[in-house]
Amino acid sequence: MTISLDLAYHAPASLDETLEILSEQAGRTVLLAGGTDVVPSLRDDLISPNRIVDLKRVEGLGDLAVIDGALHVGCLVTFSDLIGSPAVHARLPVLAEMAGMVASVGIRNRATLVGNICSAVPSCDAGPLLLALGARVHLVSREGVRTVDVDDWFEGPRRTAIRSGEVVTHVTIPLPASGHGAAYARLSRTRGEDLAQACVAVVLEPGDRPRIAFGAVAPTPVRARRIEALLHAQGLDAGAIDAAVGLVAEEVAPITDVRATRRYRLAMCEVMLRRAVTAAAGRAAGDGPVHGTPLM
């Protein structure tokens, strides 16, 4: 159970100090927030840094607030923080719905939203929803600040657009217009400990093109752009949803692994898309299922 690595540990108190440390010797540093992905990766030798930079003492990185029409989620904000936030429940309840499906209470108390998209495993829960919400990732380095659309963030399993020497300070999520409807559906073998076998996020805004993304069924979370275009053109009646479901196999590329077969994932993505679009449309109309009601 021991981690057999010779590691240095830094716990800087400010962002300036953090960037100073990163600029000294970038490349073999691992940034630490909640640690729920970092610690198992260290133990399994998936990563072999020579030092850890713990961000938890850096001031300001735990901010969670609505600023200029967007939700600002600092890189230390945990899934439990999102679940407990009145602002999230009032303005972006689908974010709390997703957070409530991540692992277990003991993980959610520690795991962060930003950490989830930084470790970038294909089954990460935050990825599809942030894609569907059009989130932006904010980074800082000694060279300055940089913003990346979450559409351009995921580059492969455990690979993102982050560069050496950079820290993700926060993500911003534009708040959907009132009258929007959104849903997150997640399939797993058990509650409380399993990674997603498949997941889908749907965001419907009045008059706008629907935004839909899948997770755990491709090397990265993926937008379903053909389905979005079809639903935008044809509306959300039963015939259009049938046609959208028919496109699922063109949008996702699941593999067979220990959690599910490719065939099962494909079949269930069709079911999940139908349920999530129906739930989101119902919520937009004011009569959908209460957020947090499992759709699967």
Partner: protein, 161 residues
Amino acid sequence: MGHAVALKVNGESWSLEVEPAELLLEVLRSRVGIKSPKPGCERGDCGSCTVLLDGRSVRSCLVLAVEVDGHELTTVEGLGIDGLTELQQRMVELSSFQCGYCAPGIVLTATELLAVNPRPERHEVQAAMSGNLCRCTGYAPIIDAVLTAAATAAATTAPEV
């Protein structure tokens, strides 16, 4: 290189020197002498190593000891300082555990739940406990004990009519 870490464990102050790669679970068991957090899956899935960190349940197999400098930990050894809690008494009465390996983690997770949500519904207890695996009981006597403890606490603190 060792790091000085000052923390409170069950109300008692500790100063330790730890290596950055040392896990909180290892340090608690081998250096502090607190044996209730159990190594199980050692990857955050099973909940048997659960401790309360500043009142919130965490997996001590996923926390580095160096991270808890300045923080406060509670384990079942600390819960029971003044005798069994209401929840623990109900668990004894209802024979909630058989082998008991999962018990410390389950007691702490349920303690956190009742602190946040004193009158949970059965489905809320099930959801909150879903990250703590028990291979003996099938969970029914555990969930019953949590619900009974909540009902007892509500009855004894209800205002007089």
